[in-house]
Symmetry: D2
Subunit: 350 residues, 4 copies
């Protein structure tokens, strides 16, 4: 495909708006339809004022036939559960679908049922869905017609661990401790007490800890596949007073004596050819500000010899490499395009 | 010129880094040299980590011959005073120079001496310098070889006022009250007590008020030229706890009875064909978040009939339309290119 | 009265919680009842976790007889409209009432009707209500049984202007331009799109400008009384990304030639004996951070000789001197106690 | 002692200013001297504007004789290294000293030398110094004349772990993983690149991780004493964009099957009679905003049955319970006063 006509379903939320921003700079994508459930409007800039003078499209209600007729590719940025129906309708009409919800991320419907409290409503589609962690699943993504774009926490958490797990550098018989910090945009555009400015500024708090956050099984699935055996994770998501960015820190025990240099070398080999991942130099520690607005992940390693622990860190912009940017990266791979197309912009700093 | 080779002098500060970010997306500009006084390094990403994996240039010390040989266009993002020498050296070697400092903004050297406390060190160059407020000076910018890129406050303040002043809609015999709020990045990359996180967060304070801030004569120069007579401004810059963005609010008295619709119509006529300015609809008020990271200015008008005052508002990202973006817009015009080239990206929201 | 038993009606919102915090340090006040409409609970710390281990009171539903039996003094921190009924019920049962709502601030019911869009429901009580701007109305407050605690913007705006207006130093025949910035806590505890963290951080926006904000007539009432003639105000409230603090800047024209020293001297004379107001030294400009959490107002003056404008600034913590702290100051005066009792703590800095 | 005359050495930094704020509300302490190295001034409010109209003391240069003559108690809030000399001079003159630096926290001078890169300059005084973690060392603090006030991170980290360690509920043969987040005020009042607003806002980054932060041996010392055997810690301090607050999360493995209820019960028994610690209810997770400005620690527990990990959390205001408040708590105990005297104020919320 030379160019792709693109629809965004769920265009008025944060990941939807971010898809618009990123796709406007994509040299081979043409935005042809914006779809939303609420906030339907003849002029997208009414609900997304940053688009005034930039993009002149309406936001329309979902109509599978109408949308399918206008696009080759659809990004679905709907809440989990709500996504399945739209995905099925578009995929069934021959549209390539990149789904940003959690609905197609867990390949085992039993695990889905356990964590989401409901039977999976599209078990027949699950085998067609490719998990879109690009650096891990690049080959499977080529030609894919249905892609489950990974969660933000799982992306930031898994990337630094994957090279070590593949290489057998870490013990698999003890749980991985993952402490992850996130900006508030991960919670979406709907105001709640927990995202009210006055209760977020100067406040940090963990939530859904100790095996209760739904990204836990997603991280475990990714690491377990790489390890070739079941791996357990204890995961602590924490909200911090900023808009964008995730910093995930993992604690694992080395199988054998190892050096930081060896960890970095292992990761650099793994991420060779990956335009979106930078392995920092020894001694450098990542900062969310260095990746904000970009599709880049910065990963770094340290070794605590006194405590015999590897500390592995990954940072991303949760709305870009953690959502909309990675979705576009998946599209690029699926369509056989250069993986970094339209995604090369550096972070907005400061 | 089909393409331009571009050097950035003063590349390691905030406006320099922002020039890098914006030029990397510019379809006809090739970054060929980064220059800095401090922070010289073989790998720019050492001091600008957001460039890791994105740009592989050194930051070199200033050497006029070497730099001039490598570029057609230079952006000078140096502090005022320090800029003059670099501008002269490059301009004298046939390089088109876009200067982001204050050194060439005031056309009258006496005014410069009065406000900057020193004789102007390049009076011979002053007549060649075009003031780069694109929407006002577009014609003068075509073919310009030396451009004084306007200050951030003057851009945000003058844009909403200019249509009204040109049209004679406001009284010129009383001072314009301008109250402007700015994010902290306007203060630059060097840490000071006033920009220390703990003393900036939860703190708002005005500074250099009541006719002491050096942007005052720059705003007066712009408005006076448009009015065809001397106009006075009282200007209150205020620091607010955020990184980017300026919101300037001006209070003027209408000459005759006027409506908000008429003000908006006047502004829309003035800015017709200006890709960087959006005149908001009646009732809409601008928000810095809607323009953050973009080269767009949002302007808006209200009328206080009880007090007989026009309230005119302008908002920009101080590092983009208030500095680096406008500098590129100037280059586009000077080189005869499309004015919005490389500057169409919408704001990063949220 | 040696000690006062105190009830807080509307205890679970921000001004209610702030009353609790401040009264816990008051040496002559005993908190006896917390009342709320929503968030009724046997243990206040359930909804105000900062009180865990500090205060062991329930939050109860409003019952006039029960509450009146338990208290000598009641603070009503309810939304306007909702307040009137509670005020009447308690005041009628002999309780001294300090009302933080807007309901009793405007002495002319016609003005109330014009700005609040409804007839005033307690016109009979209006003549009994004393406007609680302590530094202006101290004498009237002594012994008062019903006090209308001023709004946050009117307090910050009027304090620096009052000395000048009383002294006839400013022209009364042109509108006063007041540009005021506020932290987000002024918008209350209920989450909305406009106070959602991600749309507030890095965003500044004005709202209800040009004679549409309901604090406009309140400011005009205060200044007009002091001037002895009608004064007009154009008022621009602006939301900035911080939790607490107001900085109000006013622009007025001097009647005669005047100096900053004279302005400061005039203000110091006016505020002599006022423990809550500090007139800053010449050249100092106020910072919201210096008053955060305290009941202090910092006021400052500058003179723009070029534009012939006096710039008068006032800063307060909107929840303390702008609400709960001033309410307690009113109580102290009404009960004949030392005005600064329980209110001497300096700002929490940083 | 009925009342204490109190000097603050190092009064112009953040912990010094916080001591002033807290002591002004202390019913039995009289501030008699403020001392600083830089920022000596006849009027403290010149460098601490929050004190204008509140406190009328100079900030004087250090003179041991003069200071010792004016006070019974001195708080030393100086950087480590600089502290030792002042402590020796005052302690030798019969003043009770509460030292907020790290100089007297590690009882083994060899450990000090290893982590601070210098021989301890007052080994003779070390045996007299009591480690001031009040809830753990209350008995030793009674009558103490030299107290080492604990670090902020060690306080937040150790408090939730101590009950479990004392009770033998956690495995001691594997390292404790502690991930701690801190507001920026912990870095002090001197501006640096890392605390510049624009590089802190929207940025989170870990620093001195993997056994390199000097609070590591302090935490190990506290836990090892309680365990009766050597315990290892891997510690990850992380800077987040806010001014005050620490949230420390620890991961430990239970020795036997245990329930959250049992963990909470154990902690409530341990902290019975401790006015500064609140053990949250099951399911509640701490928020730094609930303790900001107060001397309270909130601790909470969760159990990840899938990963067999106890997650123990503690949150404090780093400048209060993590520094100045705990110092006053130490004084209260040392002087035989009520432990919570002057420290009962709840958090400033929001």
């Amino acid at each position: 495909m030379e160019r792709a006509r693109v629809a965004i379903v769920g265009a008025s939320g944060y990941t939807g708006a971010e898809l618009v921003r990123l796709l406007l700079s994509h040299p081979r994508a043409d935005l042809t339809a914006l779809v939303a459930k609420e906030r339907v409007t003849p002029k997208a800039s009414t609900v997304l004022p940053s688009l005034a003078g930039v993009l002149d499209l309406p936001i329309e209600a979902f109509d599978a036939d109408k949308i399918a007729a206008k696009c080759d590719v659809a990004f679905c940025a709907l809440p989990h559960g709500a996504s399945i129906e739209a995905v099925r309708a578009l995929h069934g009409r021959g549209v390539r679908v990149f789904d940003l919800s959690a609905d197609f991320r867990l390949s085992d419907p039993a695990t889905y049922a356990e964590w989401y409290g409901a039977e999976h409503a599209a078990k027949d589609l699950l085998p067609h869905a490719v998990y879109g962690l690009c650096e891990e699943n690049r080959e499977a993504l080529r030609g894919a017609t249905l892609v489950a774009v990974p969660g933000c926490y799982p992306t930031a958490s898994a990337l630094p661990l994957l090279p070590l797990v593949h290489e057998g550098l870490v013990k698999h018989d003890e749980p991985v401790v993952i402490h992850a910090l996130s900006g508030v945009s991960g919670a979406g555009r709907t105001p709640t007490a927990g995202t009210h400015f006055t209760e977020t500024s100067e406040g940090i708090r963990a939530y859904k800890i100790a095996g209760t956050h739904r990204h836990t099984p997603e991280i475990e699935q990714t690491l377990s596949r790489a390890a070739g055996r079941d791996l357990r994770v204890t995961f602590t998501p924490t909200l911090v007073p900023m808009s964008r960015g995730i910093l995930a820190t993992s604690y694992v025990t080395p199988t054998n004596e190892v050096t930081v240099d060896a960890l970095i070398e292992c990761a650099r080999a793994f991420f060779a050819g990956s335009p979106s991942v930078v392995v920092l130099d020894k001694g450098q520690l990542p900062d969310t500000l260095w990746v904000r607005g970009s599709n880049r992940a910065h990963v770094a390693y340290a070794l605590d010899a006194r405590a015999n622990k590897i500390v592995a860190m990954g940072t991303i912009d949760n709305l870009v490499k953690g959502a909309s940017g990675q979705a576009i990266q998946c599209m690029n791979i699926a369509l056989g395009w250069d993986e970094g197309l339209g995604l090369r912009a550096p972070a907005m700093w400061p």
